[in-house]
């Protein structure tokens, strides 16, 4: 990928995906935890698919075990897309 992926772009995309999955639009934020958003393992698999589609970044379910907030996912995507 030639264009740089910014944290703002990724955050907006991830938050939009989570809202599509049914998370409360008023609650989603960079610092929100999956528990607060009622996001479960099935949502995270779908989120990984969205991220791979959009940024060509693979996040495995093992990676996901260490990613506890929206911000953690955003940071990993930005790092791996660089």
């Amino acid at each position: 990928m030639s264009t740089a992926v910014t944290a703002e772009q990724v955050e907006a995309r991830v938050l939009a995906a989570l809202v599509t999955f049914g998370a409360d639009a008023d609650v989603v934020s960079r610092d929100a935890t999956w528990e607060q958003l009622e996001v479960d393992s099935l949502d995270l698999v779908e989120l990984a698919q969205v991220v791979e589609d959009e940024y060509n970044v693979e996040i495995t379910s093992q990676d996901m075990q260490h990613l506890l907030t929206v911000g953690h996912v955003v940071d990993m995507v930005v790092e791996r897309a660089a």
Partner: protein, 401 residues
């Protein structure tokens, strides 16, 4: 197996609208829910009962089951404190095909975008036990839960299975029924290729010009309780499930036995299970699909099972008004039958215009009429017959006047 089984709540979503009473009132008024040759539950909005997340986690067949289960539990007075230990309550929901909308959508993704793009929700949404699992989870029902899978008799098998669970003492109550949403090109094309569905798109059971069924979607759910326990808790009882039987034709993949042999046995065994005689039956809710084969075989079966009495009682088909709901049919029709008994009305077979010499029972053509009741409380049987040769018959009794 002596325990009596009370029906304390019902719910339905059908092409005639949302709600069991809506189904009953509109059918009795002779209205049709079929448009352009299909029976869509077009008044159903999943987001009126489910959150966005819940709706996304459920194929439409499961969404319909959840809506009908909410209604049935509220109708039974279970929407506040639960009357039973959740470990003693089961959930048995049948379906003919399951989440086929999910299946075909994911098949398209697989073909067009490859295996890594297929949704993780594909399997859990399409599996045929998804409606049962979802109903169990939604209402915290922790007794036995599973789906029954027997094509167009799945809903009736679910109710019969639930009845047996209560009679055996395995459960104090069971939330049971059927759900189907298969109005996708694949099933429409396959039923058309089988020449099972109506090319002209009219559901007219027992009419001489009938040319096949009209596919519909929906769900029906009943709350069954051990009648003794229902009485103890002061439940309002809508009626009783007094008999059930299931048999098999062992004859052909799709065609009924021409003499209705398996159907006759199912009817007679259901009457025996209920401890009643043919003369005690006041109303027959027919399977009545509007296919040339079924309606003839079913008419013959009713005559063989009930004798002369078959000519003396109303026999009508809910499918004339809503089409064929496949795995939901037996459940939606059990709900419709129970409410007909409750109001003591024989709902009509609509679109009936051309009598067929070979189908010569009283099909209640086009207009409902008061139901003549021979005993203290009205009794009906509801027939369901499925591809595969599965026959299931329920016997229901309304409350005494």
């Amino acid at each position: 197996m002596s325990r009596a089984v009370a029906i304390t709540g019902v719910g339905a979503v059908s092409p005639l609208g949302v709600g069991a009473r809506t189904l009953h009132e509109r059918w009795t008024a002779g209205r049709s829910g079929i448009e352009d040759g299909l029976g869509r539950a077009s008044e159903f909005d999943p987001l009126s009962v489910l959150t966005a997340k819940e709706a996304r986690r459920a194929d439409r067949c499961t969404q319909l089951a959840l809506a009908a289960s909410d209604e049935a539990l509220a109708d039974a007075g279970w929407d506040g404190d639960r009357p039973y230990d959740p470990d003693r309550v089961g959930a048995i929901i049948g379906t003919g095909i399951g989440g086929i909308t999910t299946l075909v959508t994911n098949q398209d993704v697989l073909r067009e975008r490859g295996p890594t793009k297929v949704a993780p929700l594909g399997i859990p949404l399409m599996m045929a036990n998804a409606p049962a699992g979802a109903v169990s989870m939604r209402h915290d029902l922790r007794g036995p839960s599973y789906g029954t899978v027997s094509a167009c008799s799945a809903g009736a098998h679910a109710i019969g299975t639930a009845m047996r669970m209560i009679q055996s003492g395995e459960a104090d109550a069971v939330v049971c029924g059927g759900a189907e949403s298969a109005l996708v090109d694949l099933s429409i094309a396959s039923f058309a290729a089988l020449e099972a569905s109506s090319p002209i798109g009219i559901s007219r059971p027992f009419d001489a010009l009938r040319d096949g069924f009209v596919m519909g979607e929906g769900a029906g759910v009943l709350v069954l309780e051990n009648a003794e326990l229902a009485k103890q808790r002061g439940a309002r009882v809508l009626g009783e499930l007094i008999g059930y039987a299931a048999t098999s034709d062992a004859h052909h993949l799709t065609a009924p036995h021409p003499d209705g042999e398996g159907a006759v046995r199912a009817i007679l065994l259901a009457l025996r299970d209920a401890g009643i005689a043919p003369e005690d039956v006041d109303y027959v809710n027919a399977h009545g699909t509007s296919t040339p084969l079924n309606d003839l075989a079913e008419t013959n079966a009713l005559k063989r099972a009930l004798g002369q009495h078959a000519y003396e009682i109303p026999v009508s088909s809910t499918k004339s008004a809503i089409g064929h709901l496949l795995g939901a049919a037996g459940a939606v029709e059990a709900v419709a039958t129970l409410l007909a008994l409750r109001d003591r009305v024989a709902p009509p077979t609509i679109n009936y215009e051309h009598p067929d010499e070979a189908c010569d029972l009283d099909y209640v053509p086009n207009t409902a009429r008061p139901l003549a009741v021979s005993g203290d409380a009205p009794v009906a049987i509801s027939n369901s017959f499925g591809f595969g040769g599965h026959n299931a018959v329920l016997a229901l009794r309304g409350v005494a006047a």
